[in-house]
């Protein structure tokens, strides 16, 4: 029975020893060890949180940058588009103007040609009249014989010539 009968002396000393161990360890071992553990865990937690915060901040910044770039790109596109429309407009206008000018030039040229033509015709008429006079003079001079007849004939011819 000795094996399963607790010995009073052993219980007595063990109570003292274990009580002392529990007290001393609580005060001088577990307190600093647990304190160090909790402190380190807290600092790691804080560091992780800070890193998380920094990361989200960087993410925000990147997003902002991207937005800025996108905006700038949009602006650039708009400017280019505007320039293209402007250019097209200018070209079209220039083309139109040129066409009008051309038309005008052609009209002018045509007017001038008509005018010149009229002038030339007039001159030609005048010259024809002069020539006719000269011819008539010559004819008259050559055919002085039959003066009377010739005179009649000439006047008859002249009458017949209708100037136009």
């Amino acid at each position: 029975m000795e094996l399963v009968t607790p010995n009073v002396g052993t219980i007595f000393w063990m109570t003292i020893i274990f009580g002392l161990v529990a007290f001393v360890l609580k005060k001088f071992a577990w307190k600093p060890i647990l304190h160090a553990l909790y402190e380190r865990e807290e600092s790691i937690e804080n560091a992780l949180n800070a890193a998380q915060k920094a990361r989200s901040e960087v993410e925000n910044l990147t997003a902002e940058n991207e937005q800025l770039i996108a905006e700038a790109r949009g602006k650039k596109d708009a400017i280019i588009k505007e320039a293209i429309t402007l250019r097209d407009g200018i070209i079209a206008e220039a083309r139109e103007k040129a066409a009008i000018e051309l038309q005008k030039g052609i009209e002018n040229a045509r007017n001038q040609i008509d005018h010149e033509k009229e002038k030339a015709i007039q001159e030609m008429k005048n010259q024809i009249t002069d020539l006719s006079f000269i011819i008539a003079e010559k004819i008259i001079r050559n055919e002085m014989a039959d003066k009377k007849q010739h005179q009649e004939l000439v006047s008859k011819l002249i009458d017949e010539i209708k100037l136009n």
Partner: protein, 376 residues
């Protein structure tokens, strides 16, 4: 020799069976002794008493036996502290403090005290009257082998944990180093795997130091008990008085830190009135449960550690059994097998040491958790 062998092997088998089943083999030990005497052959002058061999190794003692060389016992004497009710038999003093070497291993008496070798009080100190008759037992507050073993492991524990605590103070906020690096994972394990799940996030902190103390004390005593070299190897956690104090510690922590809710559950649970009045059935059940819990803790640790020590001793004693049965050659022949088994069991015991320390702490934590819970 051949006719005798079955008898002895049967005896050995009974010893092993009884140890395995946890039946107390104190009676069987005497049986073995008596049976083996008439069966002894004339050429075997020295018989090997297996039971005595085993029990000498696991029982508490007043001296720390290291080795026996020939007929000389090499042992460390331990202080004997006695309080007697019969001062007239012991030179008029009530308190007696002397070293156990005064008994010369039970061969001589000292101041009317006798280290009994008889079956009933074997290894214990009895008081003798003038005629040399046993009159009773004094109150024995000696530093026994178990207590000395516990003190040794407490010193080891202190040096280990104070070094860790020192390192923890020094390396504040930084990664642990040295011995602290070894202690901290265990601390974290106890917190995350034992304390937090069993007690809860809210209350676990105030139970950390009892749990850690229990775990480290039990684990270290278990492990140091496996080292068969002085000053280790004492069967500390395989002593029922030691495990009783550990279980009582768990019991007191549970009940002192118990919440209002816990005490209400004990004395006035929400059950029909006839279960509480006039016969307080539920309170009786609850209180018996309160006592059963530490009792189970005590028995479990004690039985597991004792069994480990015993089985190792049994395997080693096989060498001596065979050599006393069939001559020294058989003993030498069996020794590799025996030693192999003993090494295997010792390794198994290392595992058991961890498991038992874990189980004791886990169950304590569960009891703490039940006592500190506010609501269901």
């Amino acid at each position: 020799m051949k006719e005798k062998m079955p008898v002895n092997s049967k005896k050995l088998l009974t010893v092993i069976l009884m140890i395995l089943m946890g039946i107390l083999p104190v009676e069987s030990q005497s049986e073995v002794g008596q049976d083996s005497l008439p069966a002894k052959n004339d050429h075997e002058t020295e018989s090997f008493d297996t039971g005595r061999f085993i029990f000498e190794h696991v029982l508490d003692a007043h001296e720390w036996h290291i080795a026996t060389v020939g007929n000389r016992h090499i042992s460390v004497p331990l202080p004997v502290i006695l309080y007697t009710k019969f001062p007239e038999l012991h030179g008029g003093k009530k308190f007696h403090v002397f070293l156990s070497s005064e008994f010369h291993h039970g061969h001589t008496d000292f101041q009317g005290f006798h280290l009994s070798t008889e079956e009933e009080n074997k290894g214990r100190i009895v008081e003798l009257d003038k005629q040399g008759q046993v009159v009773g037992r004094p109150i024995d507050l000696s530093i026994t082998k178990s207590i000395a073993g516990a003190i040794v492991s407490v010193l080891v524990l202190f040096s280990l944990l104070f070094a860790a605590a020192h390192s923890a103070r020094k390396n504040r906020g930084r990664a642990p180093s040295g011995i602290h690096n070894f202690v901290e994972p265990v601390v974290v394990f106890i917190r995350d795997e034992i304390a937090k799940p069993s007690i809860g996030e809210k209350n676990y902190k105030k139970f950390m130091s009892p749990l850690l103390t229990l775990f480290f004390f039990i684990l270290l005593n278990n492990l140091l008990g496996l080292i068969p070299i002085f000053p280790f190897g004492a069967n500390v956690t395989g002593n029922i008085a030691i495990t009783m104090v550990l279980a009582l510690f768990s019991f007191f922590v549970t009940n002192i830190k118990g919440s209002k809710h816990y005490w209400k559950e004990v004395f006035n649970p929400d059950v029909p009135l006839w279960l509480k009045f006039p016969i307080p059935l539920m309170p009786i059940l609850e209180i018996s449960g309160m006592i059963t819990k530490p009792f189970v803790l005590m028995i479990r640790l004690f039985a597991n550690m004792l069994a480990g020590h015993m089985i190792v001793t049994v395997f080693l004693s096989l060498i001596f059994i065979f050599s006393s049965l069939m001559g020294p050659a058989a003993g030498y022949g069996v020794s590799p097998v025996s030693i192999g088994f003993a090494v295997f069991i010792t390794l198994l015991d290392v595992l058991v040491s961890f498991i038992q320390a874990y189980v004791f702490t886990l169950l304590s934590a569960i009891y703490f958790g039940m006592a500190s819970a506010e609501h269901h």
